[in-house]
Symmetry: C2
Subunit: 150 residues, 2 copies
Amino acid sequence: MGIADDAVEVRARGWRTLVAVHSLIEAELERALGESVRLSVIEYTVLDALSRQDGWHMRMQQLAGVAALSPSATTRLVNRLEDRGLLTRVLCADDRRGIYTELTAAGRELYQQARPLHDAALERILSQAEERPELAPVMRALQGELAPAE
Amino acid sequence: MGIADDAVEVRARGWRTLVAVHSLIEAELERALGESVRLSVIEYTVLDALSRQDGWHMRMQQLAGVAALSPSATTRLVNRLEDRGLLTRVLCADDRRGIYTELTAAGRELYQQARPLHDAALERILSQAEERPELAPVMRALQGELAPAE
DNA sequence: ATGCAAGTAGCACGCGCAAGCAACTATTTC
DNA sequence: GAAATAGTTGCTTGCGCGTGCTACTTGCAT
């Protein structure tokens, strides 16, 4: 059992920790967003990404990127949101294969409503997680990302 | 835009980073384990957990815990692995509601085969991820978890 | 008996894969 | 140059699969 084996073990342990933190946060966000605004985490992610690009459009592929989803799943995700009137598809003139998506007024409104709930839930979970020593290192890394700028 | 707002933004950014790292690692492990030993990441997780408890049994609920899965999903996961002959269900004498699971010889063998592939893939991904500055803080936290003991 | 805990199915839903269709690009041909 | 052809890209659809929710069965506890 040498140093190399230890490194393997450390990586495996780190990965398990990451999975634990991820599923903890995701489950809680899912609950918070689901019961208040009927949005899944991934649906919120899309609204969030679109609202950050306010005025701009996003292609399906970009959405697939930020959602870490396959093209087909992205299609259906956009379908769901479009059926609820939260966004619209916009055909692009210069490349008629491409499809842009854009928040509707209702979409912006729902996002404004969801965002504080999302942020509050996130803060709640992270402060809880910091209490758990086995998760603490990852938590510090997450919150310390802007530390150099303080 | 005060300090509190910045904190919210830092947390949201950290969460997005965590999601990115998670889905990156998961996708790569899925690919590596899938094409070599036909195991999903979650199936490997179960074999790993069981082999760490060698000699011991694990209840369905404990498995559900380590896999971050619902009871019903755990049932079917164990079904799949049992159908492939990788583990067996063992009824427990002192509480006949409880069901223990145990690796078979074939299960142990497949795990021995899968583990180095898993560890190698993990190392590969982590070293790649360290190259990407936006992921680096989380990566350091993962690998540095045992740092105090060095 | 009444209540609670452990594990198992029925159901609907969201996902990835592979195939398909429309639109763009490059190359050839006249 | 204009038209035809082959190959690629962007998005969508059919299909099978794994998941969570809810309801259910069985066994323990009070």
